[in-house]
């Protein structure tokens, strides 16, 4: 390994970073996720921590290079619509400042005539145009999920709905990399941004099976044989995660390595393995030392440690009943048992520690979507299709299993009650979390929206439904656990969490981390 001449390293360990702008080629949450994982590589082997901030005071500023700007655009981390590779023309619809679009204008043989409310540009033949299609997306109530070239003679391909290629395909154009032969009605040619669903099949991996030209195919995980004929994988693509991890190595003081397998070797090399080579770890620890050993762990319990998955939410409105990061922990603890009819004392693992025996009724494995302390009562929310044996049963004819909540008062368990009793209509399939608010209110989350719940009336205000990203910008839209801890809101998705801090009523994501490493201290 090699470090830079002179003492080029950080002399504090809590490093901050700012993502100043984004690339047209990838959805923002993919970029955010790639950067969070790239930083986590280095924090896992050093005392360094990385916190995302939103301004110039950051230690590390990340900017996607921009080429060919027309006009005097200034980037203020707003999105710019691309009109083709590498050339951007700012629109005046709240995007980048600078030269507005003077309609009509022609660019690369296309005439542009208007902006739409979402910043897309319309061509004069009535189709929206501009950004490549990043699937799936919805426009004017239609969901687009694939590209097709049928119905065109000029070689361009269109973003198409899965429903009906005839009237719906006229929307934008696809980022054609290589036109694959279209077989069996599949769309072909565009990049696979995993996971995506097409014609009811979930695509999540690449494979070169069944091809002799070295190209990769987007494939379903279930059956590579008949489903892989769909589109192209980014075989010429580069992993933003790997590129970012390399560049962040430079930003921490590492120069290039001479070890071809090392991440800090100058040439890009794709790998599915863990990207850090011993040489990288020796280099970074030469600068910052190793990651301090965690406090000595208490003897592990005899039971197999449950797999660290995203725990159900525990939202505490009163004084926190448990502080996972204080005092000796004896490993995960379940919600307080409440006597014979109380909620199950199963651990908080959202997934069963052993796969339930299919013959055994899976209702014994208690999986909750959210557990929230509301008005000093623990609410257990469950959307699943069965009622755990340990919970009071009801007359199934009255409340079909699913969309239920049990209220644990410390001495007894009330319920189950259906979510409708809380004023949540059938469109709310499950509750995924809760955030306490002043004045006896609690925000109840489900999918991409939240409602304001009144603790006294035990009802939500149906008019209060609000999109999550309107009040919590920067968190992913599909979080499955939301909770509050020490005055901050946590939004969990897969292995990661987005921590939201409130400054003068403005919510900002100030940290993205691993649930296991950074939250549960596993």
């Amino acid at each position: 390994f090699q470090t830079f001449e002179g003492d080029l390293k950080w002399h504090h360990h809590n490093i901050t970073y700012w993502i100043q702008n984004y690339s047209e080629d990838l959805p923002r949450d993919v970029v955010d996720d790639a950067f969070a994982r790239a930083f986590a590589l280095w924090s896992a082997v050093t005392p360094l921590t990385f916190t995302r901030v939103y301004g110039r005071e950051a230690d590390i500023v990340i900017q996607f290079g921009v080429r060919g700007i027309q006009g005097d655009a200034h980037f203020d981390d707003e999105e710019l619509w691309s009109l083709g590779k590498g050339v951007v023309v700012p629109t005046y619809f709240g995007n980048a400042k600078g030269a507005a679009c003077h309609f009509p204008f022609t660019f690369e043989g296309r005439s542009y005539s208007a902006c739409t409310t979402d910043g897309r540009l319309y061509t004069n033949d009535g189709n929206a145009d501009g950004k490549p299609c990043v699937f799936p997306f919805t426009f004017e109530g239609r969901s687009y999920s694939a590209c097709t070239s049928d119905g065109r003679s000029d070689g361009y391909r269109w973003c198409a709905t899965t429903a009906n290629y005839d009237q719906d395909k006229l929307y934008g154009f696809c980022p054609t990399r290589v036109d694959a032969t279209v077989t069996g009605g599949n769309a072909a040619g565009e990049l696979c941004v995993f996971p995506f669903t097409f014609l009811g099949k979930e695509y999540s991996a690449c494979t070169t099976e069944g091809r002799n030209d070295g190209h990769l195919w987007c494939a379903t995980t279930s059956n590579f044989d008949k489903d892989k004929k769909w589109g192209f994988c980014p075989d010429q693509g580069y992993s933003l995660f790997l590129v970012a991890a390399h560049e962040f190595g430079h930003a921490l003081g590492l120069d290039h390595s001479s070890v071809p397998e090392a991440l800090m070797y100058p040439m890009y090399r794709f790998t599915e393995e863990h990207p850090l080579h011993r040489d990288d770890v020796q280099g970074i620890q030469h600068l910052y030392g190793p990651r301090p050993e965690p406090e000595p762990r208490p003897p592990t319990t005899t039971a197999a440690e449950p797999q660290p998955t995203a725990p159900p939410t525990v939202c505490v409105t009163g004084p926190p009943t448990a502080r996972p990061s204080e005092g000796p922990t004896t490993g995960p603890t379940g919600p307080p048992a409440a006597g014979p009819t109380g909620p199950p004392t199963a651990g908080p693992s959202a997934a069963p520690t052993e796969s339930p025996d299919p013959a055994e009724d899976v209702c014994n494995v208690d999986i909750f979507d959210a557990i929230a302390e509301i008005g000093n009562r623990l609410h257990f929310f469950k959307a699943g299709g069965c009622v755990p044996h340990s919970l009071p049963q009801t007359d199934v004819s009255l409340s079909p299993a699913g969309r239920q909540v049990w209220v644990y008062t410390g001495a007894s368990v009330l319920g189950p009650r259906r979510l409708d009793k809380l004023g949540l209509g059938p469109e709310v399939a499950q509750v995924t979390g809760a955030l306490p608010r002043p004045g006896g209110k609690v925000l109840l989350f489900s999918g991409q929206s939240f409602w304001r719940f009144d603790v006294k009336t035990q009802k939500v205000d149906p008019q209060s439904v609000t999109p999550v990203d309107q009040m919590f910008p920067g968190v992913p839209m599909s979080t499955h656990d939301i909770f509050q801890y020490q005055e901050k809101a946590y939004f969990c998705q897969d292995h990661f969490f987005w921590r939201v801090n409130s400054w003068n009523e403005v919510n900002r994501v100030d940290y993205v981390g691993y649930v296991t490493f950074d939250l549960l201290k596993c």
Partner: protein, 76 residues
């Protein structure tokens, strides 16, 4: 990545541009005697753990065409 390599360069032009861009030769032009090119190639091959031939062989040319980080290998 800093774009795809411009294909209309000769191998020697590609090498001179690459060696200059990534810090192996101080000036953009190499003297005609070939010695300075040889010395610069040896430095590159050693730095990248390539066979140290001092020649502009196919291994070295492939390495020069591979996508890479834009930070120079030598110099400040």
């Amino acid at each position: 990545f800093p774009g795809e390599r411009r294909t209309n360069l000769t191998n020697r032009q590609l090498a001179e541009e690459y060696l200059h861009r990534y810090g192996y030769t101080p000036g953009a032009e190499l003297s005609e005697d070939g010695q300075s090119l040889r010395r610069a190639l040896l430095r590159l091959q050693r730095r990248l753990s390539l066979p140290e031939t001092g020649e502009l062989d196919s291994t070295t040319l492939n390495a020069m065409r591979a996508p890479r980080c834009g930070v120079p290998d030598l110099g400040r």
